[in-house]
Structure formats: C-alpha cells, structure tokens
C-alpha cells in the first residue's frame, strides 16, 4: 500500500475560523472554572472577535482558493467576516447588562455566539456545498439554543422549539436540493457544478431544476423570505432581545452570502429559470413584510416583519448578480447591522426586569423624558425606512441601482413603493414617541455598555449615510 499524499492545507486563509474557534473553546473552558461573575468571558470573547476580524486580512492578492476549491478568501468573504465580527461584538456588548438584569447566567451564551460566528465565516467563505451545509448547521444549532436560553420563560421555549422544528425541516429541503444538484452534475463544488452545466454534463435536467427549487426553499427559510417566514415573528419575539438583534443581522447576512454565492457561482447558467421564481419571492416578501409590520403592536414583532421586508430588497441584489450587486449586498448588511443593533439597544434600555415594555404604546412620550434616546430611535427608524441622508438610503439606492443595471425596472419600482409603505410603520413609532402623552413612567437605567452600542450605531448610521464613499470603495474593490 503506497502512502497517501497529504492534501494542501492553507491555514492562513482559514485564520479567522481558527482564531474564533480557539477563542470559543477558551470561553467554554474558562467558564467551567470561574464562579458566578461572567465578565471575564465577555472580555475574552470580545478579544477573540477583534482578533478574528484582524486575522481575516491575513491574505493578500485576493481571491485565494484553498482546500481543493472548498474554501475561498475574496472580498465578499473578508468584508462579511468583518460584518460578522462587528455584529457579534455588538451583540455581546448589548447582552452584558441585559443578561445581568434578566438573570441569564449561562456562560455558554458567549461561547455559542463565538461558535455561531465561526459558522457564519465558514458560510461566507465556502465554495463547496458540503461546507455550506456544515456552516448553516453550526449557525442554526447555536441559534436554536440561544433562542431558548431562558429556560424558565415559556416564550423563550416556544421560540426555540418553533425555530428548531421548522429549521430542521427546512434543513431537510436544503440538503435534498444539494443532493439533487450533486446527483445531476456530479460535484459538490460550486465551480464544478457551473462548468458541468455549461458543458452539458448534466445527467438529468428536471432533477437539477427541482434541486434549485428546493435550494430556494431551504435558503429562503434561513433568511426568512416569504412564504417561509412564518417562524420569524414568533422567534424574534420570544428570543431574548440581544439574541433577536444578533439573529436579524449576522446569521441572516451569512445565509444571504451563501445564497448569493450558490446562485451566482454555481447556477448562473440556469438564471432564466430561477430569476422569475426569485422575483416572485422577492416581491411577496416585501409586501408581506411591510403590510405585516403595519399591523403589529409589539415592537419586536414589528422589527421582525421589517427584517422580512429587508430580505425582500436584498434578494433583488441576488437576482441582479453583477459585480455591483455583491458590493451592494455587503454595504447593505453593514448598515443594517448598525441600524438593527441601535434600535434593539434602545428597546433593551426601555425594559426592566420582568417588564420589557415591548408594546409600541409604551413608547408614548419618550421624547419628553429622554429626548436623546427618542432622537436616536428616530434616526435608526428613518434609516431603516430608507430616508436620505442616512445609511439606509444609500444601501437601498445601491441595491436598486445594481438591479437597474440589469434592467429589472418593474422590480425596482415595486421595491421603492414598498420602501414608501414601510415609512408608515416606522413613522408610527416616531409619532408615538413625539406626539403622545406618556402612558406610564419610564424607569430607565442607562447602562453604559448598551449606550456605547447605541453611540457606535448612531455614528455608523450617519457616517455611512453622509460619507459612504470609503466603505463603498472597499466593498467594490473586487
């Protein structure tokens, strides 16, 4: 028996994954040997996320392919790694005071966030369907547990169970789709699938198309696109608020990155067949998200529907699949991270133990008692609604221009109309804050960490809105 030659291992391009995994394990083990005070875990996790973000710059001359074409470091993956590290760090910062207040003493909380980040980085850098599947599973399993981490709260349990059952079901669809793609093209590598389709090496055309449809179902569930969004409002409402914010940004960005990669790199040749399907999904996602949000009275549910609507806009970028749309995707997710963490930061500040103050009514008169908080909330909501000169406007503009370049005029018009509709419910919250009398006393402890997160988010939202050029240049560098 002749010895097997070792494959090429490129640890440098894997650096962020390695750093984050090592820190995740460190947090896990440290937690076993310390007492009740978990602040050291926060410190280790934040260090890990910082190092992870820095280590993603380890490779020059992008793109670099490694591990037999299963892994890639390119601008998309590096930029997304930054988004993931930023969003996980903000999630941890925002949880510190929240966890103290709500009595979440589980140290695994922080290691799960780190492992989830590992999964997200893998998702954004994977060019092999097996890797994409593993990434999605790591992210999903961490999120199932994080959603249910308040074990004595029935709402949290409901969220975890719903998310888990539906998520496992959706994973089945995703896996089935991948299997059919593999079966009809003979490879799990995205590039090889594309070349098999180009060169007519497809074993069975109908099975291939069925695989694509199943992929749309599976990925559509993970990003909460209509009609696979049913879980989102309940899970967003039941999960602890920092976890909700985390879920709405990082994992969603990661799934979208994988979504974009699969559709633009593996099956662009089939775009005549999936374009129309994704257009329909995108349009109904926007409509259901925005119209659903109008009817909500709970702020977390409102934001859940609004995040569904945002996925509708982002799917437009996937449909366009030109170089502009990938940078639009990156820029959008970065601004979205700031807007969401800012909004949820304020939602967290307004709650107190046992009473989270989640009804929109409870925001009445906030402007008189805490004008700065109300102003910040207004900035975030208007940015989510896409008003200039805030970051949300630039992001939307970017996505729409990518689609216009490919000639999707009607789709863009529908999206702009939806954007206008969405202003209605964002303004509703603002009206409550500025024009109604308070229904009850605000009892706010201004916890420094959460305020810090809000300050960063305001800076990001305004900076990216007024001076987006430098970041856009980074995103467009490919």
């Amino acid at each position: 028996m002749e010895p097997i030659t070792a494959p090429a291992i490129d640890l440098v391009s894997l650096a962020p994954v390695l750093v984050l995994s090592v820190f995740g394990i460190m947090v896990l083990v440290t937690d076993l040997f310390i007492g009740k005070d978990k602040s050291v875990l926060v410190f280790i996790s934040l260090t890990g996320l910082l190092m992870g973000a820095i280590s993603s710059l380890a490779k020059y001359n992008l793109p670099v392919h490694s591990f037999n074409g299963a892994y890639i470091v390119d601008h998309l993956s590096v930029f997304f790694t930054f988004i993931f590290c930023i969003s996980s760090a903000l999630a941890i910062l925002v949880s510190v005071d929240f966890n103290k207040r709500e009595g979440i003493k589980v140290g695994e909380y922080y290691s799960l966030i780190l492992f989830c980040t590992v999964g997200m980085v893998l998702l954004a850098s994977a060019t092999d369907m097996i890797m994409i599947f593993l990434g999605i599973e790591i992210v999903s399993i961490s999120l199932y547990v994080l959603a249910g981490i308040r074990r004595n709260d029935p709402k949290s349990n409901e969220a975890a169970l719903k998310y888990f059952l539906l998520g496992a079901f959706a994973t089945g669809f995703l896996l089935y789709g991948m299997t059919l793609l593999y079966g009809s093209t003979g490879s799990t590598k995205l590039v090889m699938i594309a070349s098999a389709i180009r060169n007519g090496g497809v074993a069975s055309e109908p099975l291939l198309l069925m695989g694509v449809v199943l992929l749309i179902i599976g990925l559509g569930f993970k990003v909460a696109a209509v009609p696979f969004h049913m879980w989102a409002p309940d899970v967003y409402q039941g999960a602890p608020t920092p976890v909700t914010a985390f879920m709405a940004v990082g994992p969603k960005a990661a799934s979208l990155a994988a979504f974009y990669r699969i559709f633009s790199e593996a099956i662009p040749q089939l775009s005549p067949s999936w374009e129309i399907l994704l257009c329909v999904v995108s349009v109904i996602t926007m409509f259901v998200g925005n119209l659903g949000a109008i009817m909500q009275t709970n702020i977390k549910r409102l934001l859940a529907f609004s995040s569904v609507a945002h996925v509708g806009y982002l799917i437009i970028a996937i449909i366009a699949k030109n170089s502009l749309s990938s940078s639009a995707l990156m820029f959008y997710m970065l601004t979205y991270a700031f807007m969401i963490f800012g909004t949820f930061g304020i939602v967290i500040l307004l709650g107190r133990k046992g009473d989270e103050n989640l009804e929109i009514e409870n925001y009445s008169g906030l402007a008189y008692k805490h004008p700065v908080l109300a102003l910040s909330m207004t900035i975030f909501l208007l940015s989510l609604g896409g008003l200039p000169p805030l970051a949300g406007f630039v992001a939307k503009f970017f996505v729409f221009s990518a689609a216009l370049k490919e000639g999707f005029l009607i789709l863009v018009i529908i999206a702009v109309l939806n954007s206008a509709v969405s202003l209605y419910y964002y303004l509703k919250v603002i009206v409550f804050m500025y024009m109604k009398d308070p229904v009850k006393e605000f009892d706010i402890t201004l916890s420094p960490m959460t305020l810090f997160v809000i300050a960063i988010s305001i800076f990001g939202t305004i900076q990216l809105g007024i001076f987006p050029d430098s970041i856009i240049a980074l995103a467009q560098a490919n």
Binding site: P3, I4, A6, I25, L28, V29, L32
Partner: protein, 118 residues
C-alpha cells in the same frame, strides 16, 4: 457482480430458516395444556395490565443525545483506523485535532455534570 452476494444470501436464508423454524417447530411439537389460571399473566403485587408507555426522566434524553454524538464521532474512526499507516503523520495530526475538539466537549459535559445521575 451480484454473484458475490450469493454466499451472504444463502447464509441469511439459513439464519432466517433456522430461527423461524425453531419458533414454528416448538409451537407445533411442544405439548400444550392450556387452562384459565395458567394463561393469566402474573405479577407479584402489581396490576397485570398496565400501559407499557411509562414516562421517562429527561435525564435519559441527555444520555441518549450524548451517545448519538459520540457514536457519530466513532464512525469517523473506522476509515481512519484502516488507513492509519498510509496516512502517516498527516492523518495522525488531523485526527488528533478532531479528538481534541471533541475532547473539549467531553471535558465540558463532564464538568457541567452531564454524566452525573443526580
């Protein structure tokens, strides 16, 4: 190609034949004297007819999940063990890393008391 399964097929048929044959033969050849008292199930101090569904403690669940996880881990060892010499140092380090990560998992479960039966 299928001829290679002939032996296995014959063996399976024989196994089924012997097992099934014994059951059939005992019920046919054995003496049977049935009367009411004998046929009644007997359990000392217990009601003889209860539902077989008993509620299990949630502790079993943790054990079962951990069993499945380590079972899956063990599956990766089969091909590794067969290829151990051919893979050389590289395969050894690779597996070491794999075990190390799962070793952390074991340490975690252990320290958290996942293996205790309080």
């Amino acid at each position: 190609m299928l001829e290679s399964y002939l032996g296995a097929g014959i063996m399976m048929l024989m196994a089924i034949g012997i097992a099934g044959g014994m059951v059939v033969m005992t019920s046919m050849l054995g003496p049977k004297r049935e009367f009411a008292d004998k046929m009644e199930p007997f359990e000392c101090g217990e009601s003889p007819i209860v539902s077989p569904h008993q509620r299990f403690s949630v502790k079993f669940y943790l054990v079962a999940v951990l069993f499945v996880l380590f079972d899956i881990e063990a599956v990766f060892f089969f091909p590794w063990a067969i290829l151990f010499k051919q893979l050389g140092m590289f395969g050894f380090i690779e597996m070491l890393l794999f075990i190390l990560i799962l070793g952390v998992g074991l340490l975690y479960v252990w320290k958290r008391g996942g293996l205790d039966w309080e």
